[in-house]
Symmetry: C2
Amino acid sequence: MPKLHDFLHKGSFSSLQASLLEMNPVDLAQELEQMDRGEMMMVFRLMPKDLAAAVFTYLDSSLHQHIVESITAHEIRELIDEMFIDDAVDLLEELPSNMVRAIINNTSSGTRSLINTFLKYPENSAGSLMTVEFVGLFEDMSCKEALDLIRHSGVDKETIYTCYVTDKSRHLTGAVSLRRILLSDNDCLISEIMHSSVISVHTSDDQEEVAQKFQLYDLLAMPVVDREGRIVGIITIDDIVDVIEAENTEDMELMAALHPSETEYMKTGVWELSRNRIVWLTILMISATFTSMIIGRYEDMLQKAVLLAAFIPMLMDTGGNCGSQAATLIIRGMAVGEIHLQDWWKIVWKELRVGCLVGLMLGALNFARVSIFANNGFMVDLCVTITLFLTVVLAKTMGCILPLFAKFCKWDPALMASPLITTIVDTFSLLIYFAVAQMLL
Amino acid sequence: MPKLHDFLHKGSFSSLQASLLEMNPVDLAQELEQMDRGEMMMVFRLMPKDLAAAVFTYLDSSLHQHIVESITAHEIRELIDEMFIDDAVDLLEELPSNMVRAIINNTSSGTRSLINTFLKYPENSAGSLMTVEFVGLFEDMSCKEALDLIRHSGVDKETIYTCYVTDKSRHLTGAVSLRRILLSDNDCLISEIMHSSVISVHTSDDQEEVAQKFQLYDLLAMPVVDREGRIVGIITIDDIVDVIEAENTEDMELMAALHPSETEYMKTGVWELSRNRIVWLTILMISATFTSMIIGRYEDMLQKAVLLAAFIPMLMDTGGNCGSQAATLIIRGMAVGEIHLQDWWKIVWKELRVGCLVGLMLGALNFARVSIFANNGFMVDLCVTITLFLTVVLAKTMGCILPLFAKFCKWDPALMASPLITTIVDTFSLLIYFAVAQMLL
């Protein structure tokens, strides 16, 4: 890989330009991010317009602002016009509002009205993900006419591999792949080879739903329609891959009691990292007041049989782990569309049985362990074992009911994960523990 | 949606066949799964060969076995020949070995040797994901010749949208998109329009690595080369989307102390669900022996100040949550390629500072809470607060060091998540708690 840096220093701009054209835009963006800003701007200006626009979309957002501030209004206009609408809108959403106004005033009127429409779609909706650069065909075209149209207009389209067929008033009536067009006879009509049952989404549909449809049907692109069934744009698979990763990250963060953040870890400051963590930590710490209160209430009993305290951590950890296992399976199952709310009683019944089975095994194991290696007396061992069994059953049941309940309330099920369930199960397992101890000791 | 069922019962097979052709293979597979097995086989036999092969790949694996057992050797051969090699291999990997032998003996010799090659690639490697049905071009072809070749052979290819260019001995020398071919002049040579820096993977590369490259470069397909740089197959984006989801599910399961399973939750029996959970639960329960031992050792102190026990659950939960937050961010960051092992000291330093900041905030809050609402005496409150601070710092540090350490040892970092860290942090926080208490009380 020839170093761009060296060419710059030697002043050999023509070799630099030649090697720019050879490089992948993604790698190029990564190299630019390593340079100092003056050099970066020089290289950026040496790129042809289409390459510059492609590289720009892969750059870090802190560099976006720097570049937009460093180039002329005319250059901004060219850059925005060269970008796909969805990327342009993403750019505008991350810039400060005074800059956005300046940019929008500088774009051509067609682009401006498009951008304004896009900025109105709710965040994370199909509308905000889509792009308008698709190939639209009509039913009465022949394959040859369609191919000519694609050849003529295809350069500016995000994908030409799936084409969408509409009637005269832009209602979506079918879809046809470029492969099908190419492999059919020249005179064949589009209406003869198109599929009329097209999988589509509505502008206001949530991106998670869109991603699930993409996966279910193995699609490369999907049309987006408005309320009247007119096609307004398409979503392509590369954006969906990013959505899937972002949704998964968000779920994992929520499941670990983190406020979801879209910034990369290495680029997030200590202060922001702490802020994202402190809210849930505080809530969970305050909720732990219940456990303190319960132990406080049974102080006398604990005084008499202080070795009961020795098993509290083990009981609580096992309860937390059991709940977390069940919750993770249910949350993930709902996220990938394998588990549906209407099956709730089947799930609860299943977890109840798993809880009993796992509880029996762990209980037996623990009883054997404590009676062999420790010398606490039969009654204490029995008390710990009974509590362990009941805690496991309770944890498994709570672990599946809470995410299902969240789904029912239309909250994010990922909120009902390990940390919250642990806190709840802790409270109940202590209550059980002391109740059983009171009966047996 | 016309019910296939109704057509079957009325015996109107021609309407049934017509409506089969209208339907999406994915939906069709879902409808077949709802039918009883006799009806399903009737409908399956009414489908044209290519549709049957497409629907077959979307069916549940329990139905695969049923169908393979119900059709003739000749029909099996037709089905396998119609399927893409990667799907055929997936099918063979899930069937019992005597059936596999029968099927392989029945396929054509070309398919047989291909399948045998594929079965040798390690599971989850690029080789096991790829398919051999790609379009291969030569540098000295013109665009017109290339288009003719695509038209002639494209029907059987998994994708025709990216074509790969090789020299005479099948070494990969470039790639060119169908778009580029279509938008160029007929006489233009492939060597003039192809990209020569192609992103490719090696047959033995891990699928997680492959998925990261797909995401980084926004690709629709990627070539797979052998050790000599010869192209042996391609991987397409639809398979990568499945890989991403499967890897994410696996990570989440590991992070919740579950043995990863590839079966859907609703289709997994109680016994198997329990087995996937019991191993880690047992290990973690046994590890909790340490906490019991520590508390046992400080029994005398606890007897004197029994209200110390009241704060054990709060300290342990907060420690667990803090560790889990840090671990999740690091594990996820490494999985999506945003965090690299060589930055380990930056990460530890960052978490140390976050730990101090969060520890101070929680400590202050907790001190205020217990001194206002409870009446434990200043020394006990101070003891709890100091332990809380130290536990938070420890948990954050362990939470980042353990996944990094796992990565260093080439284990899966997801193993070092919440459950294991909680158990470790619990032990240390109890040691800190009693040490501080001994000093202060």
